[in-house]
Amino acid sequence: MTTTAPVPPPDASLLRPRPEWPDATGHFGRFGGRFVPEALVAALDDLTEAYEAMRVDPVFLAEFERLHRDYTGRPSPITEVPRFAEHCGGARVLLKREDLNHTGSHKINNVLGQALLTQRIGKKRVIAETGAGQHGVATATAAALLGLECVVYMGEEDTRRQALNVARMRLLGAEVVPVTTGSRTLKDAINEAFRDWVTNVETTNYVFGTVAGPHPFPAMVRDFQRVIGDEARAQVLQREGRLPDAVLACVGGGSNAIGIFTAFVPDEGVRLVGLEAGGDGVETGRHASSITGGEPGVLHGARSYLLQDANGQTVESHSISAGLDYPGVGPEHSYLNDIGRAEYRPVTDSQAMEAFALLCRTEGIIPAIESAHALAGAVTLGRELGPDALLLVNLSGRGDKDVETASAWFALGEQTAPTDEDDRAVEAGRGGDPGAPLGDADATTVQDGDAL
C-alpha cells in the first residue's frame, strides 16, 4: 500500500448516474425481484449493502480502475469494419472490441468487481456457473489473481462443447464440476451453483455471470458492465462527432448488451437492439429467444421472460452458441422491451454462422459465435436503415473457443489450406447458401425481410 490516498477516477463508470430502475427491492417494473429460499436472503442483503458501500469507496474505485487498465487492457478500442459493412446495405459499422480484453470477452469486467467484493466481505471461496465457459474462465482468472478458492459449475453438455475452456479453468486452478442434471446446460449449472451457495453461504460468495438472478445481481452486474457503453459512447462521439443510430448486442442472459446499452438509454434517438439466439428458428420451438418467443415467469430468482410450457416447466433452449443457450433473460431486458426502449430480434444459427464467417473473411477477426448473432443483426438492420446509418456493435468475445464448433459447422475439418474449395465446403455446411462464395457482396443469405 502506498501512503497517498487513492483518488477515484473522475469518470468512473460506477459513479455515473444510474437508470431509475430497479427500485430499492430490485424490481424493474413487474420484473426482477427476489424469488429465492429464505436461507439466501440474508446473504443477498449483505451483498447488496456491501456492494453499495464499495461502489462509492475511493480505495475500491482506484483499484478497480487500475485492474481495468493494467490487467484487462481497458479501454477496449473501437474498430471500423468497412469490408464487413459492404454486406450491411452500405451502413457504417463500428465494433466495440471486448474480444480484446484479457480472457477474451466482456465477462472479466464483472468478475473483477465481484471478486473484489468477495474479498471485501471476507469470504475465501467463490463459485460460478458457466455456459460457454467464458464466465468460468474469467472467474477462475480473478480467483487466481486474488488468491480465492474457485469452483465452477458447468453443464456436462457444455463441458463437451467447450472443452478448451474447461482446460483453461483447470490450468487457472479452478475446480470444474460437470452438472449432469436436467438438460445438462447453463440453467442446470445455475441450479447446482445455487444449491452449493445455500449450503456454504457462510464461507462462499456466488459470482453470478450475467444480469439475471435475484437482486442485487441484475443491477450490480449491469453497473460493472456499463463501462463498455460509457467508453463506447465517448469513443464514438470523439471520432464521429455524433452518436450511432443503433447499438447492437447479443442477448443470452444479457450482460454484454446491458453493458453497452446503459450509457445510451437516455439518448432517445439511439435504437437499442438485442439479438437473441433463434436456434433453428423461433417457429420451430428449438431456440433460445426468451423475449421473442417466451412469456413472463419466474426462474433463477427473478421474474422475467422465459421459455416455459403450460405447466410452468422451463423448456430446454437450443442454440449453436453455448453462451446464449439459456431459457431466461435478465429482468432489465424484459423491462426495456416492455417500455419500448429496446427491441429484441431473433437470429438463427445459420444467420449467426454466416456473419461469423463473413467477419473472419472480410476483416481478419474471428468473433465468438455469441457475438456473431449481433453481427448478423447488423447485416439486417444496416440494410433496413440504408447507407447513412452508423451502427455500433458490441463484439463481446473472441472466437478461439469456437474454432472446433465452427470447423464442424463449415465442414472444414479435412481441409489444409483455404481455397475456393473451402468456400464451397462452407456453403455445404448446415446454414450455407450453396453456390455463392463468401466475400461476394450479394451472396449472404441474410435477406431483408428475414425474421431478424
Binding site: F35, A39, V41, A42, V198, T199, V201, G301, A310
Partner: protein
C-alpha cells in the same frame, strides 16, 4: 397445554393443535405427484396417511428445483418429463383429504404463477386442500398470493432459516397461516445422519417472535429416532427425501407405509 387456535379455520393449525393436545408432534410427509407415475404417487400418499402421517405435503413437480437435493430431483425429473400438471396435483389433494389427512401443496412459485394465482387458490380450496408451502416465495414477493389465499381461506406456509435475521423472522411468521416451516439446516433437501442443534435454536428463535403459529421442522429427518429428537422441540416433523427414497428403491406404497409407521411412533416417543 392448550390447543393453539391461532388462525380460526386453519386446517393445518387445527390438525397440528390436535396432535399437540395428544402430547405429541404432528407427522408431515412429503411426496411428489407423478413419481413413479400419477396413480402410484397418489397410492403412496394414501399409504403415508394410513401409516400415520397427519399432513401430506403434495409436491408439484418442477424442472428447476433449486432447493432440492439429488433424491427429490431424481423423482421429480421423471414426473416433469411425464408432463405431470396441476390437474394431477388437485387429484392428489382430493385423495389425501379423503384418506383423512390434511393436504397441503408444496410448490416452487412458477408452476403456480403459470396456472394463475387466483385460479390456483380457488381450485385448491375446491379440491379440499388446506393451503400451500412456497419454498422460493418470500413474503416480500407474495402480495398476490397473500390476497388470493386470504380470499380462498387457504393456509400459506413460508420458510424461515438459521440465517434469517430476527426482523425477517418476525415478518415471515406474521405472514404465515397454518404453520411456519423451519428449514433446520443451511442446505438442500436430503437425509442427514444428524439433525443438529441449529434446528432447535431456530425453533426457539421463531417462537420468540411472540406468535402462536405452530413451528414445524424440515430438512434431514429420515427415521423414527430422528423424528423423536425433533418432536421434542417442534410442533411438527417434516419428512421428504426418506419417503421418496422408498419409492426410488422400489419399495412402493408398502415401504412408504412402513416408514410412516416408524416415524409416527417417533413423534409419539417421550
Amino acid at each position: 397445554m392448550t390447543v393453539p387456535p391461532s388462525h380460526p379455520g386453519s386446517a393445518l393449525a387445527d390438525r397440528i393443535g390436535a396432535a399437540r393436545a395428544e402430547g405429541r408432534s404432528a407427522l408431515i410427509a412429503y411426496l411428489p405427484v407423478g413419481y413413479p407415475d400419477v396413480p402410484a404417487s397418489i397410492e403412496a400418499m394414501v399409504a403415508a396417511v394410513e401409516g400415520g402421517a397427519d399432513v401430506v405435503e403434495i409436491g408439484v413437480p418442477y424442472s428447476d428445483p433449486g432447493m432440492d437435493g439429488p433424491t427429490i430431483q431424481e423423482a421429480v425429473d421423471v414426473a416433469v418429463r411425464a408432463g405431470t400438471g396441476m390437474a394431477d396435483v388437485l387429484a392428489a389433494v382430493s385423495a389425501v383429504a379423503q384418506a383423512g389427512a390434511v393436504p397441503v401443496v408444496m410448490s416452487y412459485w412458477n408452476p403456480i404463477e403459470r396456472y394463475g394465482v387466483e385460479r390456483f387458490a380457488t381450485d385448491l380450496a375446491a379440491a379440499g386442500g388446506a393451503g400451500a408451502i412456497t419454498p422460493d416465495l418470500i413474503p416480500d414477493e407474495a402480495g398476490e398470493w397473500i390476497q388470493a389465499s386470504d380470499a380462498a381461506g387457504l393456509d400459506r406456509v413460508f420458510l424461515v432459516a438459521p440465517s434469517s435475521t430476527d426482523t425477517r423472522l418476525a415478518a415471515t411468521v406474521g405472514a404465515c397461516r397454518g404453520f411456519v416451516y423451519a428449514a433446520s439446516t443451511m442446505g438442500v433437501t436430503g437425509t442427514r445422519t444428524t439433525v443438529g442443534d441449529t434446528a432447535q435454536v431456530l425453533v426457539e428463535r421463531t417462537r420468540g417472535v411472540g406468535s402462536d403459529v405452530p413451528v414445524c421442522v424440515g430438512l434431514g429427518v429420515s427415521d423414527g429416532a430422528q423424528a423423536a429428537e425433533v418432536a421434542a422441540f417442534a410442533d411438527g416433523v417434516i419428512v421428504g427425501s426418506a419417503y421418496v427414497r422408498q419409492l426410488l428403491d422400489g419399495h412402493g406404497a408398502e415401504g412408504v407405509r412402513r416408514l410412516s409407521e416408524d416415524l409416527a411412533a417417533g413423534v409419539r416417543r417421550r
